[in-house]
């Protein structure tokens, strides 16, 4: 299928207080690609992700997701195609138990209960969190929370997975498990992160943004080895490429 594309064309976005978060940004992500989005704090990464789901509507320009142009009418359908995993799992997990949380999306799609149960078990199993299903989220560790947060998005079977700092607050082992997990997904993936090693492991392509616009876009190894480019953007070489 070639229609799982994400295309931004000359998108600009201005927050109500006048902050210009995106400036004439354009890129195209095709089916099955995994793309890392990197940049300094406040470069516009999170704003960009919020556009992929129609929480924020571009002030000018167009967003095209899977051959649907983002408008207020198409928002609901686009939300079904793009699953966003937010940075803080406490914001993502809002139901009183893990099971209900993962079931929230499928139930909203109007699936019947047996189908929902299958989906939930499949999704939880994928992140090896099946035994957590009856726990309330506040009894989970941070790593478990973020695993469940991913499961809750996977359960809706989105075509495109967008994540904001998926490895923030994870201990190295949970982070490694997450990286291995992300590698097994065949979805189109868009990952905004400062964890350049994670991007290097999971993504094939990398987009650097600065002050709301694309400054570099290319194969991940090419960009993450370009010390000058990275340092201009408040980043540095991935730790695994740094010489001691």
């Amino acid at each position: 299928m070639s229609h799982h594309i994400v295309e931004f064309k000359n998108v600009s976005f201005c927050y109500p207080d006048g902050t210009e978060a995106l400036r004439d940004i354009s890129f195209r992500i095709t089916h099955g690609e995994s793309v890392g989005i990197i940049g300094a704090n406040g470069a516009g990464k999170s704003t960009l992700l919020l556009h992929m789901n129609g929480y924020l509507m571009p002030t000018s320009g167009t967003v095209n997701i899977g051959d649907l142009y983002l408008t207020r009418q198409t928002r609901q359908e686009i939300r079904r195609k793009v699953g966003i995993v937010f940075q803080n799992p406490d914001d993502q997990l809002f139901m009183p138990t893990v099971y209900e949380d993962v079931a929230f999306g499928p139930l909203n799609l109007g699936m019947d209960e047996t189908a929902v149960r299958e989906r939930v078990e499949y999704a939880l199993n994928l992140v090896s969190g099946l035994e957590l299903q009856n726990k309330p989220p506040h009894h989970l560790s941070c790593g478990q929370k973020s695993a469940v947060a991913i499961a809750s998005v996977i359960a809706v079977e989105p075509d495109i997975l967008a994540m904001d700092e998926p490895a923030a607050n994870l201990d190295p082992r949970s982070r490694r498990l997450l990286i291995n997990l992300l590698k097994t997904f065949e979805h189109s993936k868009i990952i905004a992160s400062h964890d350049l090693d994670l991007i290097m492991d999971v993504c094939h392509r990398c987009i650097v943004i600065r002050e709301g616009t694309v400054v570099a876009d290319g194969p991940v190894m090419e960009i993450l080895t370009n010390r000058q480019l990275l340092e201009e953007n408040h980043l540095e070489l991935p730790l695994s490429l740094q010489k001691r």
Binding site: N53, R79, G83, I84, N88, F94, M95, P96, N108, V156
Partner: protein, 269 residues
């Protein structure tokens, strides 16, 4: 008590509700209905009643024992809210000066009688309500309420409350710790700083609410909370409900304590 202690105290109540005993396994609906029935039965007694109320302590005591809930924990909570009941009843002895005959020429003012009756009713109702929460997981209570026909809007409010009270308290705990760490004694603990802390907490909460709403929309939320049918009434639930209801009925409408008393007197004479 410091904020941290309060936080862990609520956490403890929550931990208790995830135990696995006979009482915890009962269907939340059965427990909800029986608790309500219990409350109404206790409240329905006349305001001078004392002796007929005493057998009702059997129910919370049984729940506590079978549910393995520490007695002191519940007792402390009851004492914590007791001042409210005391204030309601404290003027009764002054206002209601009628005399009531007890036995062998011993009389007591009706006001004292109604005061103690209020205290007993209060202890019974509050401890039973606490025990319901301590023996039923909060999501279970919410499901029960939903299935008993409470509007979905109220139930989702309740479940959000449960989900985020811990997050919010942790947030408050962090803010309070950060303040204490840099206030070196007294400065910084005044009202002015406190007001600002509350303001910050409020803004953070609003922002969080917005992010949560995004997360809900992202998974297809369109105004209705979906619900799952999860519980099935088992024979144990029915037996529990019927026997407690029978117990309540007998002790409400028959002078069971007097009958028992006469029976005991008969045995000894």
């Amino acid at each position: 008590m410091t904020f941290d202690e309060k936080y862990y105290n609520i956490g403890f109540l929550d931990q208790l509700s995830y135990k696995n005993t006979f009482v915890h396994r009962l269907d939340p609906r059965a427990k909800l209905i029986i608790t309500l029935l219990f409350l109404f039965t206790v409240i329905s007694f006349s305001k001078y009643e004392i002796s007929a109320l005493l057998p009702f302590f059997l129910y919370p005591m049984l729940l506590m024992t079978i549910g393995e809930i520490p007695f002191m924990f519940i007792a402390k909570k009851v004492i914590l809210v007791a001042p409210f009941a005391v204030f309601i009843g404290i003027f009764n002895p002054l206002l209601d000066s009628g005399q009531v005959f007890i036995s062998n020429g011993l009389t007591i003012s009706a006001g004292w009688l109604s005061f103690f009756s209020i205290l007993i009713k209060f202890t019974l109702t509050v401890s039973t309500a606490l025990l319901l929460i301590a023996t039923t997981s909060f999501p279970g209570v919410c499901h029960g309420l939903r299935q008993l026909g409470l509007p979905s809007l109220f139930v989702s409010q309740l479940s959000f409350l449960y989900r985020y009270i811990f997050v919010l308290m942790e947030e408050t705990m962090r803010i309070v710790r950060a303040r204490d760490m840099r206030s070196y004694g007294q400065r910084g603990k005044g009202m002015k700083v406190f007001v600002r802390l509350v303001g910050i907490l409020f803004i953070r909460t609003v922002e969080r609410a917005e992010r949560i709403y995004y997360a809900m929309l992202s998974r297809g939320f369109q105004g209705d909370m979906p619900t799952l049918k999860r519980f099935h009434i088992k024979t144990g639930d029915v037996i529990f409900a019927v026997s407690v209801a029978a117990f309540l009925y007998i002790f409400r409408f028959y002078p069971a304590t007097q009958i028992l008393g006469r029976f005991v007197q008969g045995v000894f004479s």
